[in-house]
């Protein structure tokens, strides 16, 4: 049952196997060629992909929308603001309303962990988690792993230092798990107050010393969320001190290292503008990979759907 669930949806990297990741990344390679050529594939023709976004997003929502269109799907984007969600409609009711359009795939972003699971249970569609609370952002992790693999030509044994606000980061959680599945290693580097107790059980090293980034092949910079600095919520004394201690400046990047950031960047806070714009920065490659990987994720679910339908036909016969 759980296996079938994992196959029908992409809710968490924790549901995937190394083979799943390999398959999706392989498919992403082919999708990248399609995307580069500006071509469209008929994979999802006649299918409907609904983007259900309860949190603001630019790159993830546009990336999913474009990915669906490149696969010839009909797409529909529903945002929490300006919809009936504003009027207090529950997640389940919204999903049941959308069910009237018979969506084949629902891409959901929500501020609370586990919301995509609720969508999956309330709907017959395949569900893709586009970020839930501080829990998971699986397509981001897959596109990051894909980007690293494409750039370095390998994943096995690659060392990635993930630096910043780990506590509030779904990107960090998904990425650690995804890197582990492909044989890469990660170290979480953060001030002690932004490093949740027990996080090393994800299968990573942890450090509160920025010097730990020196050993990495890739420095992955997390966004410092300014809203985490609200009165009474201040996990660090000031952004200035954070930048001084943990900001990724050119001096902290050793020759040969790559730098990544999931965006949107706070230039001058967690990442120095000179780093963000340096040749060793993979930020634009990440966005480009995002399209290919999301096409791959959607196509992978659709292929599974075909396979399931075919199995059903065989059973009927």
């Amino acid at each position: 049952m759980a296996e079938q669930e994992a196959r029908r949806h992409l809710l968490s990297i924790a549901d995937l196997t190394g083979a799943d990741v390999e398959r999706i990344l392989g498919l992403a390679g082919r999708m990248a060629e399609v995307a580069a050529a500006g071509e469209k594939l008929p994979t999802l023709r006649g299918r409907t992909v609904v983007n259900l976004f309860y949190e603001s997003s630019t790159r993830t929502s546009t990336s999913f929308e474009l990915a669906a269109k490149r696969l010839s799907a009909d797409t529909l984007t529903v945002r929490a603001s300006g919809s009936s969600v504003d009027k207090g409609e529950s997640l389940r009711d919204t999903v049941e309303t959308l069910a009237a359009y018979r969506p084949d795939v629902i891409v959901v972003r929500h501020p609370a962990a586990g919301a995509p699971g609720i969508v999956a249970r309330a709907s017959a569609a395949n569900v893709v988690n586009a970020g839930d609370g501080k829990h998971q952002h699986p397509t981001q992790a897959l596109l990051d792993v894909y980007t690293i693999g494409e750039t370095l030509g390998r994943l096995e044994g690659v060392q990635v230092a993930i630096v910043g606000d780990v506590l509030h980061s779904r990107v960090a959680r998904s990425l650690v798990q995804a890197l582990r599945l492909v044989g890469a290693h990660s170290t979480l580097v953060a001030p002690p107050t932004l490093l949740p107790r027990g996080i090393e059980s994800l299968g990573c090293e942890v450090s509160t010393d920025i010097a730990a980034v020196a050993a990495a092949d890739v420095i992955y910079v997390l966004r410092m969320q300014r809203e985490r600095m609200a009165a009474g919520e201040a996990f660090i004394p000031s952004l200035g001190e954070y930048t001084a201690l943990y900001g990724i400046t050119p001096e902290r990047v050793r020759p040969g290292q790559l730098v990544m950031h999931p965006g949107p960047m706070n230039r001058g806070i967690e990442i120095d503008p000179r780093v963000a714009d340096a040749p060793y920065s993979l930020v634009t490659e990440q966005v480009r990979s995002g399209l290919a990987v999301r096409m791959a994720v959607l196509a992978d679910l659709a292929v599974d759907l075909e396979a399931i339908a075919a199995e059903a036909l065989v059973e009927l016969a």
Partner: protein, 424 residues
């Protein structure tokens, strides 16, 4: 202590089975003849598969009345208690309005006279509105029937007010029962601080948020030489602090819930909102420490902390859901299945901690099976297997942490206050 329920005819019936009353040292096959609610005869009988135990006492129940009668009423909550084998329950005062004045308490007692199926007592608030600022009129509330005082649902944040409450509680002759939570340590906390909360990205609610407050309140109670009851303990550090205080002759008691005894933080991985309660499910070594403390008597009482919530409030993502789960109707079966059958806890200890233990803490008459005594008996079928389902509850709410689970052992009949209040 004064408990209230609907008055009605007393029943006459006979029961046969293995009478197991650990607090009285009884374990024999007997036929119990009840005449007009009173145990009239106890005679030897043949072996039977049923266990006849002193009915249960739950010192911690949320009846949601007044204010949220859609979630529970005195009637539905006490029917749920009856189905769980209880002959006495104590309701918490964190209602709307809060039970912080005699007029509200008297209104509840009057309603219990017509609605409560099982004898029900009420706790009153320590502070007005449970705001932690001013003490309630404890003497007047005690006169109106308050069993004890608690701000349950919220901690008494101010140490100064807590000290004064301990001092003043002597006036009404009632003890305090405390919900220990240091709110700045549990802020935005949704799950036990540890690997699972870290992995799921849930705000951490550390053990320290409980144990630090436990230490504070035990120190205050020791200094004031007043009794103190610690509610729904969840962390091993809290249990250790309680044991130390008891060794130092502080009149401290503790309770633990079935869910904290049977489940650990692993259950939260499902992100099922029915695994969300305050305090949260903790680590496996915490769970084991709770079981051990229950077995050795450090913790005297099992309390369900039955906390009904409307379906629409729990049918949301974990972080958006309110804390609390129901428990009255499943307590015995869950504990029998999880602790007694695997041999972790004896049936005798379980029965004692569900009945005499809590009764003694609050000065409620201990349910005894004795000649001439009022019949308060839970009839248990230890072999019965049943599956907990949403439509099987007497409670108005179904936010059980056991939905879909198959349990072994079931309450098949309950006699409370001399009346058959539940029969399967």
């Amino acid at each position: 202590m004064k408990l209230t329920c609907r008055n009605g005819r007393r029943d006459s019936l006979t029961l046969e089975g293995r009478v197991l009353a650990p607090a009285q040292g009884i374990d024999e096959n007997l036929r119990i003849t009840i005449e007009h609610g009173v145990i009239a005869r106890l005679e030897p009988a043949l072996a039977s598969s049923l266990v006849l135990a002193p009915a249960f006492v739950d010192p911690h129940v949320h009846l949601r009345t007044p204010g949220r009668e859609d979630e529970e009423t005195l009637q539905s909550g006490t029917e749920a208690a009856a189905a769980g084998g209880y002959c006495a329950i104590v309701a918490m005062p964190n209602t709307d309005p809060v039970v912080d004045s005699a007029i509200v308490l008297e209104g509840l007692v009057r309603r219990a006279e017509t609605e409560a199926v099982v004898p029900t007592g009420f706790m009153a608030a320590i502070s007005k509105g449970q705001r932690g600022e001013e003490l309630t009129e404890m003497a007047e509330l005690a006169g109106a029937g308050a069993i004890a005082f608690t701000d349950d649902g919220s901690p008494v944040v101010s140490a100064g007010l807590m000290r004064r409450a301990l001092q003043y509680s002597a006036v009404g002759g009632r003890q305090l029962a405390v919900h220990c939570q240091e709110p700045t340590l549990s802020a935005n906390g949704h799950a036990h601080e540890g690997e699972i909360a870290a992995e799921l990205g849930l705000g951490p609610y550390p053990s320290l948020a409980e144990s630090l407050m436990v230490e504070r309140d035990l120190a205050l109670a020791g200094s004031e030489e007043r009794p103190l009851h610690l509610m729904h303990l969840s962390a091993k550090e809290s249990v250790e602090a309680l044991a130390r205080a008891q060794a130092n002759n502080v009149a401290a008691t503790g309770e633990v819930t079935p869910h904290h005894l049977c489940r650990s933080e692993d259950a939260v991985r499902s992100l099922d909102a029915n695994m969300k309660m305050n305090p949260p499910l903790r680590a496996e070594d915490d769970r084991q420490a709770l079981v051990q403390a229950l077995a050795d008597g450090t913790i005297a009482a099992i309390a369900t902390d039955h906390a009904p919530h409307a379906r629409e409030e729990k049918d949301v993502p974990f972080e958006e859901a309110p804390f609390g789960v129901t428990g009255l109707e499943t307590a015995f079966a869950a504990l029998h299945t999880s602790l007694v059958l695997p041999g972790v806890l004896s049936l005798e200890t379980l029965l004692e901690r569900m009945s005499s233990g809590p009764a003694r803490v609050f000065g409620i008459a201990e349910p005894h099976i004795e000649l001439g005594g009022e019949a308060n008996i839970a009839v248990l079928d230890l072999d019965a297997e049943w599956t907990v389902s949403e439509d099987g509850f007497r409670s108005r709410s179904a936010n059980s942490w056991l939905l879909g689970e198959t349990l072994r052992g079931r309450v098949v009949k309950t006699i409370a206050d001399g009346r058959v209040v539940f029969a399967l």
